[in-house]
Point group: C2
Chain length 194, copies 2
Amino acid sequence: MNFLEERIEKEGIIREGNVLKVDSFLNHQMDIELFEQMGVEFKKRFEGKPINKILTIEASGIGIACIAARHFHAPVVFAKKSKSINIEGEMYVAEVESFTHKCKNHVIVSKKFLTPQDHVLIIDDFLANGCALQGLISIVHESGAALEGIGIAIEKGFQPGGRAIRNLGYPLESLAIIEEMDAKNGTITFRKQI
Amino acid sequence: MNFLEERIEKEGIIREGNVLKVDSFLNHQMDIELFEQMGVEFKKRFEGKPINKILTIEASGIGIACIAARHFHAPVVFAKKSKSINIEGEMYVAEVESFTHKCKNHVIVSKKFLTPQDHVLIIDDFLANGCALQGLISIVHESGAALEGIGIAIEKGFQPGGRAIRNLGYPLESLAIIEEMDAKNGTITFRKQI
C-alpha cells in the first residue's frame, strides 16, 4: 500500500451508498503534509511532460492542485461552479452533474487563462462517475490546449468514470484506486498499481 | 509598495461599483509563487503565535490558506457553503451574505475539526464588508478555539469590514489595503503600512 492508501484505510469511513468519507484529511480538513507527498508523486508520474498549467475545479480540488503546482512551477486555474459578477468576458462552459450534491452545475473557465499554447495537467480529489472530469476535459479541448495528464487522488474503481477515461486513451493517474468497499464490515480493497 | 501591492497595481482591473478584478493571479488563475510570498509574510506577521489550524472558506481562500499552511505546519479546514450529503453529524453554522454573488449562504464547519484545544489563524483572499469573515469568527467562538489571528490578502479599506474587526480588537493583518480606487482613470491608492 502507498501512503494515501494507508491513510484511507486508517481514517476513511465507509457509508452505505458507496460514500467514502475522507473529510478528516482530504476534503474538509486538509492535511498539507499529505498533499505535499501527493504533489511529489504527481510530479513523478508526469515527469518529462511540458506542463505549464494546472486545471482543477472548486472547491476540494483546489488545495491539492495548489500544493502540487509547486512541483511543476505552474499556476493553477480553478473552474468555477456558477457565474460570478466578477467574471466577465468570454468563458468556456461545461455542464457537470454532481454525484454528491445530486444536481447539475455549469462550470466555467475564463478564456484568458486557457489557450492553445497551454500544456495542462488536470488535478482533482475524487473520480467516481467522472462527470466533473469530463467537463474539465471538454473545456481543455475547447481551448485548444494540450492535455498532458490527469491526476486524481482517490478513484472509485467500481464506478465507471475511470474506465471510460482510460478507454479513451487519456493519461489518467489515480494515487489510490478503490476496487471494493464494504460499509458493513468497513473493509476497503485497493487495485494493485505497479 | 510591497510585492502584493505591486502586483495589484500591475494586473488588477478596476470596474465601476467598487469591483477589483484580480482573477489573473488571485482568485481564478492562482500564482502559486505569489502565494508562497504571501505565506512567508503571514508567518512573519503572526510569528510566535501557537497556531495549529488554518481556517478558510471555499473557494478562493483555499489556495492561499494551503500554501500558507506549509509555513505553520498546520492543517487547513475550509468552511463549506452548502450542506453536502458527505457531511454528517454535528456542525457549526453561520449565515454569510456575499457581496459578489448578492445572496445569503450558510457556511458550515464540522465540529470534529474545530475544538477548544485549537489555536486558529483565519485566512481569506478578500475583506470588504466583512460578512464572510464575521461568519468564520463566529464559528471559531462557537467552537471554543482561540482565535490567534486573521490574515487577508486584499482589504478594501474604504468598505466597513476591516475597521469593525479592528475596533473589536481582533488581530487583523491585510497584506494590501486599498484606500481608494478610481475606475475612470484606473488608479489605486494603498494605505501605508509599517
